[in-house]
């Protein structure tokens, strides 16, 4: 084998072209790593919202809470079905209403975006122990008070502790608390009293969903069979975790596919850059290659030597790209969830698999971009090379 130090030092000697090529590869890896981190962030947010030992009930045929209407008697029957865990106060279950409000985004000139508002009952904190107030206090039942998720706080006009905004025209509400919910999608919602919301939006006697705490995860089948077999109810039952997985699916896939498409287009450019750099290196070092061939180095060892050089270039570029993408983990991105048509805030989630995938992608770029120049080097005739 040709000594690896030969290739590494040759890269150092041609600093300018080496840095330019590395920058191109770094950019591609940065875009890909960011897209994968955001995809992960979306999945993590929405997946962490559901629990497998809770069942989620929607109107038959609805695939999201926004398009689901459940009448109060049906909701009550679902809550009383077998398999639902009971407490001293009765079945552990909540019936909630979802509406969407168009609010002005903070710092923009009249730009509005949808925000999901969840009508909750006063026992919601008992039902969802992962939710806790981190600033202010809970809203009092039956009032025009609301609490907001920490991720949405300050992102819309009036969505800040002590401020107020209009749920709908001439229906102001006041923010009295900020809550966290373990990084789940609830943190991008505004929670209001369910009765206030029903009255405000003319949805009396209706809920969007019913969520029940099962006696155990294995009670799900019995509960589902009972609720779905009653044709009068017209309800569908899924595990809460499955529902939120489906919610994340479309958005996450869209981000991932978009990211990959952009990365692939960028990658073509970066590979051409790497190819030009390596062709330049081969052309510049023709005599050296001829000498190595004369000394007895095989075509394969020359090929591998230049492939290694290209790989080093790509791995260094990839490492820079990943390093540049990691601080994105501190960035929160507000975007539309296609299932709820409302704004949600996601974080970039850097995991080891994202880092490894991005580095492999960069390395593959180096190998593909470097292959043809390396092949040219391997096919160099020592006689012609030394005659130059």
């Amino acid at each position: 084998m040709v000594p690896l130090s030969y290739n590494v030092r040759s890269l150092f000697v041609r600093r300018a072209t080496t840095l330019a090529t590395m920058a191109g590869i770094a950019l591609v890896v940065f875009v890909l790593a960011s897209a994968l981190m955001l995809t992960n962030g979306i999945k993590k947010t929405l997946d962490s919202t559901g629990s497998p030992d809770r069942a989620f009930v929607l109107r038959m045929g609805s695939d999201a809470e926004l398009s689901s209407n459940i009448e109060a008697p049906s909701a009550k029957l679902a809550m009383d079905a077998p398999g639902v865990k009971k407490s001293a106060q009765g079945p552990m279950a909540v019936a909630e209403l979802i509406v969407v409000a168009a609010l002005d985004k903070t710092g923009t000139r009249g730009q509005v975006s949808n925000v999901q508002i969840r009508g909750v009952s006063d026992d919601v904190f008992a039902f969802r122990p992962e939710v806790r107030i981190i600033d202010g206090r809970p809203a009092r039942p039956g009032t025009d008070e609301v609490i907001v998720g920490q991720r949405i706080r300050g992102r819309f006009d009036g969505v800040e502790l002590g401020a107020s905004f209009e749920l709908k025209k001439n229906r102001p509400v006041t923010v009295v608390g900020v809550f966290e919910a373990g990084g789940s999608a609830f943190e991008s919602e505004i929670w209001a009293d369910v009765d206030t919301l029903r009255t405000s939006f003319g949805r009396e006697n209706l809920f969007s969903s019913v969520t029940v705490q099962l006696e155990s995860a294995t009670s799900f089948d019995a509960f589902k069979a009972q609720v779905e077999s009653d044709k009068r109810l017209g309800l569908d039952v899924v595990r809460e975790s499955v529902y939120y997985e489906k919610q994340s699916g479309g958005t996450a896939t869209f981000i991932m596919v978009t990211g990959i498409i952009i990365s692939v287009f960028f990658a073509i450019g970066a590979m051409i850059g790497a190819m030009i750099t390596m062709y330049g290196a081969v052309s510049q070092r023709r005599r050296e290659i001829g000498t190595l061939r004369a000394l007895g180095f095989s075509r394969l060892s020359i090929l591998l030597s230049f492939l290694f050089e290209s790989l080093v270039l790509a791995v260094l570029g990839g490492a820079i790209g990943v390093a540049a993408a990691l601080p994105m983990g501190m960035v929160e991105l507000s975007m539309m969830n296609f299932m709820t048509w409302s704004e949600m805030v996601f974080t970039f989630d850097p995991t080891s698999s994202v880092i490894v995938t991005a580095l492999i992608f960069g390395s593959v770029m180096g190998i593909i971009g470097g292959f043809f120049p390396a092949l040219r080097a391997a096919m160099t005739s020592p006689i012609e090379a030394m005659r130059d």
């Binding site: 084998m1 040709v2 000594p3 130090s5 030969y6 030092r9 040759s10 150092f12 000697v13 005599r287 050296e288 001829g290 000498t291 190595l292 061939r293 004369a294 000394l295 007895g296 180095f297 095989s298 075509r299 020592p382 006689i383 030394m386």
Partner: protein
């Protein structure tokens, strides 16, 4: 001369060609034997015959200078002997290998074991140190790193550069660079050293030092040296001189 004597002479010549020549009382093996060698290149549709029906026998341990005008085929002949090229016709037998029958990969491996190269323009790898350049041929042998290092340092000591092992080519003079090239040529103990204009880029003083070194390798280390040169003074240092003109040995 009688018919019987002529027949005996012919038989002796034939034997000499196949097995070797007698130098004094010691039989010397023929290490390079070319028979009926022609080399043709095509320049577009034009046929260029660089070497024409050439015969050559070089005894082992010789120091031969190959002279001739530019374009006479000297370097082509050297390339054939070094296994860098194959003849269009004829046979090339060097160090017990029939080169024209070997494939490209086989000749590459054979070169690594049997040939040391000295080039006019040194052809050192500029990013490697003198020692790393000298170690290059040893990377093709199954040697430990410490053994490679030891042998490279020994070779550099032979050429008088033991104090320049860590210098890169750009930090050495032309004469020193050529000495590194010679160290690289001998480090794997090849049978033959081919030198193409080894003093072509050097002043008289450095040229003499390089020729002294080649002479030392020939006499003390019994290396067969084939040297292409334009320089009559350099050719004078060889034990035998051959002249090539228009693809034929004169």
């Amino acid at each position: 001369m009688s018919e019987a004597q002529s027949a005996q002479c012919a038989a002796d010549e034939e034997r000499q060609g196949e097995q070797g020549v007698y130098r004094g009382t010691k039989e010397v093996k023929t290490i390079v034997k070319l028979k009926g060698v022609s080399k043709v290149y095509w320049r577009g549709k034009e046929k260029v015959e660089v070497l024409h029906d050439l015969d050559l026998a070089v005894p082992e341990g010789a120091f031969e200078a190959l002279m001739g005008p530019s374009g006479s085929g000297k370097t082509t002949l050297l390339n054939l002997i070094a296994g860098l090229d194959v003849p269009s016709s004829g046979s090339v037998r060097v160090a017990d290998a029939q080169l024209e029958t070997m494939g490209e990969a086989g000749r590459t491996k054979w070169r690594a074991e049997n040939i040391g190269f000295v080039f006019q323009t040194y052809n050192l790898l500029p990013v490697l140190t003198a020692q790393q350049n000298v170690e290059l041929p040893l990377l093709l042998a199954n040697l430990s790193s410490s053994e490679r290092k030891r042998r490279a340092q020994t070779a550099l000591k032979i050429v008088g550069l033991e104090d320049r092992v860590r210098h890169r080519p750009g930090e050495l003079s032309g004469g020193q660079q050529q000495r590194v090239t010679i160290a690289r040529a001998i480090v794997n103990d090849p049978k033959i050293i081919v030198a193409d204009e080894p003093t072509g880029d050097l002043d008289r003083h450095n040229a003499d030092e390089i020729l002294n070194l080649l002479d030392k390798l020939n006499r003390e280390f019994e290396k067969t040296i084939l040297m292409v040169t334009h320089d009559p003074a350099a050719a004078e240092r060889a034990s035998h001189r051959r002249h090539l003109d228009k693809g034929k040995l004169q």
